[in-house]
Amino acid sequence: MNPSLSLSAQALKKPQINRARLLRSALPGLSLALLLVAIFIIQPRAISYMGMNLMLNLAVPIALATIAQMLIITVNDLDLSLGSFISFVACVAATLLNEHPLLGCLALLACIAVYALIGALIHTRNLPSIVVTLGMSFIWMGGAVLLLPAPGGSAPHWLQSLVRIKTPWLPFAIIVCIVLALLVHAFLMRSPLGVVLRGAGGNPLAVAKAGWSLLRIKVSLYALAGSFGVLAGLFLVGLTTSADATIALRYTLLSIAGVILGGGEFVGGRVSPIGAVLGALTLVLAGSLLSFMRISPDWQIGAQGAILILVLALRAAVNRLETRPL
């Protein structure tokens, strides 16, 4: 081959690939911006400190749940128990943690340990994560019903005041989301340990051949996911002040949708923490937009699904753009 010809071919190909990659990683941000513009056009007063505070009130627990789900998806697994787990944590916080703080803290730590054990079980017995976590979801829900047979309980006062901090300029929820996204991004995408964790999703065999323990990788990711689940439950109950055994059931699917909206993929270790948080915010704001458009809550889940399909179709189009020049 003529060397100068091949060089110029490379020079032509390169920027195109990068542009597609850039476009794909910008997609979650773009869809969120689009939503905000739409909300501003329909209801200009919503884009204010007060309005944002109201709209994004419940966004933080969903963002935390999405991060938890993303950590599981990093190693090509899926957690179907996340919603009932967060409900269980909320019930623990509204009962045990309020009445016997020490016992409550221990119970929450035990929850994280259970998550780590599930990770170990799934790895050593080579079980499908979907089956194990589906089973666990019933166990968590049963535990929640035992703790709180009827809606009630009360969140500890320190927790209630913690989640209602008034911050200048930006609402607290937005600040928490930004900090969360940047912290997890630094850990998973920039730290040397994060590389190994993501590598285990991309090519587990190669990671094992290089001398890393897949068991330890899975256990740490599951334990981390459990910790973010606990945080989500605490934040949620702080906002609602009382709990209910089914309070967060829909978080399971919301969290999965958030990860995928944020540019993550089910297999191959391709995830993005910033995207996941943006995806969670998009889902929450989509709900607000639909209420502003006076669409009845009965139709909202369907409409949310439609938004999801739209964004995924866009991403498929971008991916095609990427593969064509090769």
Binding site: G202, K209, G268, G269, E322
Partner: protein
């Protein structure tokens, strides 16, 4: 040849078996500093097994391994190999596609950490790529999945030569040039010479003879799990290398007089391999057994799939006997009978439903015909030994009404007794007018074929009727004389 220093690694009497198959026996070989050792042999000669033992991913059954002068027996593993500076670039890529080039380096070298690790990793992999492949056009930030296969191979090779606080003594390159173009392959071989001149050690496995003769200091020829010849590369020529690879004293098989079935008839199948540039096609006539030969992974399976697709779109049908039983062959949760009758369900129907009696009858008939050893055909298929599972897969193909049977190296890991039984059934069925296309990695099996096509790099390079068959000719064509 004499070496002043003690050998880096020495194998003495090393052996390894997989079930009944002896992959390595009585291997004596030493690796020295400042030397590039070539390893050559046909499929299944034991090259890859030997390299896996050296890299610590497989442990030998018997024999002694000396590292420098210390004897190591059972405790040898990947970590230990790495500590002694032994690294391996395997044929199947071991990069994580979702990570960047620099991140993949970090995965391999735990020593890269702390603040600024990204900059350090980038600098290291850039330096290594620049050293081996000047003008490579790969950025350390590129995501591996977005690189074409040749560049991934370059990253993989460059990564093996990066040195951070650890020893780097010996690098195994298993078919490193298979997906590189000629210019880049030349860069790599030039670098291997420089690395060796600097006191490093390289083991090179390649199917391109010219490359081996020009790059290696010594060449070891393997056959049937043994090292049959080891000489300085200068003492070998293309011809003598090929001669060594063939089995020297091959007993004359009782050959029946060969009668070509091609006279004046149209071919049942005529297919051009997808990567063939000249007009050469693979043809099969009624009642013929056509063999596809050459080194493993050079386009034979792809041709079978091409033929299968074409037959299906034309509605003619064909039966495929898979070589990889676990992934393409058996339905692991079904019984033996169900595994056999699945391709003939249309013949077993009574009304809209399957007739259980007809199903049982068919299963019983094929059990007797193939000699499947089981007390009950309703037992799960996994209760059978590997050879008997393979017989069940043959029964599935032969029980169907298809006239064309495609076989994708079906005798992999099957014992000799079973093979003989199946060969005779294939011959009987061919005599009845069925056509077989048989991809095989074992040279002896070609004796059963009427016509042989030898593949290299996805193309047919040799087309022989049986009476002209010679092992030497097949070997010569499978191994490239000159880099492409």
């Amino acid at each position: 040849m004499t070496f002043p220093n003690p050998a880096l690694v020495t194998f003495t009497g090393t052996g390894k078996s997989f079930g009944a198959v002896r992959a390595l026996s009585e291997v004596n070989l030493s690796f020295h500093r400042g030397e590039c050792l070539g390893l050559i042999g046909h499929n299944g000669a034991g090259k890859s097994t030997l390299m896996q033992v050296l890299a610590g991913t497989l442990s030998a059954d018997c024999g002694v391994l000396h590292l420098a002068r210390h004897e190591v027996r059972s405790s040898y593993n990947v970590q230990m190999a790495r500590q002694h500076g032994i690294r391996c670039v395997f044929q199947e890529l071991s990069l994580c596609p979702n990570l960047s080039v620099a991140e993949n380096l970090r995965l391999m070298s735990p020593a890269i950490r702390g603040w600024g690790w990204r900059r350090q990793a980038k600098a290291l992999i850039d330096a290594s790529l620049d050293e081996i492949f000047p003008g490579h056009g790969i950025a350390a930030d590129d995501i591996v999945a977005e690189l074409p296969i040749g560049k991934r191979q370059m990253v993989e090779i460059a990564r093996a030569f990066v040195q951070v606080d650890e020893r780097l003594e010996l690098v195994i390159l298993d078919e490193p040039t298979s997906s590189l173009d000629a210019r880049v392959a030349e860069q790599l071989l030039g670098f291997v010479r420089r690395f060796v001149a600097g006191g490093g050690s390289v083991v090179l496995i390649s199917h391109i003879l010219g490359e081996m003769l020009a790059t290696c200091d010594r060449i070891a020829v393997m056959r049937d799990g043994r090292i049959v010849e080891i000489r300085p590369a200068g003492d070998f020529s293309h011809v003598s290398l090929v001669e060594c690879m063939g089995s020297a004293a091959k007993e004359a098989v009782q050959q029946q007089a060969f009668v070509s079935r091609r006279e004046g008839k149209a071919a049942v199948v005529e297919q051009r391999p997808a990567r063939q540039v000249d007009g050469q096609t693979v043809k099969a006539h009624t009642g013929e057994i056509v063999g596809l030969a050459g080194l493993a992974g050079h386009g034979q399976s792809q041709l079978l799939i091409q033929v299968l697709r074409q037959r299906i779109t034309r509605g003619q049908g064909a039966a495929l006997v898979a070589g990889d039983r676990q992934t393409d062959g058996v339905f692991p949760l079904w019984s033996i009978a169900e595994n056999i009758t699945i391709s003939s369900l249309a013949d077993l129907k009574r009304g809209a439903l399957i007739d259980p009696q007809a199903e049982r009858a068919m299963a019983g008939q094929w059990q007797a015909r193939m000699g499947i050893r089981t007390p009950d055909m309703d037992n799960p298929i996994l209760s059978l030994s590997g050879g008997n599972q393979q017989k069940a897969l043959f029964a599935r193909a032969l029980a169907s009404r298809n006239d064309l049977i495609l076989m994708d190296d079906p005798m992999r890991g099957v014992d000799v007794g079973t093979k003989r039984e199946v060969y005779s059934i294939i011959a009987q069925e061919a005599a009845k007018g069925r056509t077989f296309i048989w991809y095989t990695t074992e040279l002896e099996e070609l004796d059963y074929c009427d016509h042989i096509y030898v593949f290299r790099d996805g193309q047919v390079v040799l087309d022989l009727p049986r009476n002209e068959l010679s092992e030497e000719q097949i070997l010569r064509c499978s191994f490239e004389e000159q880099p492409a």
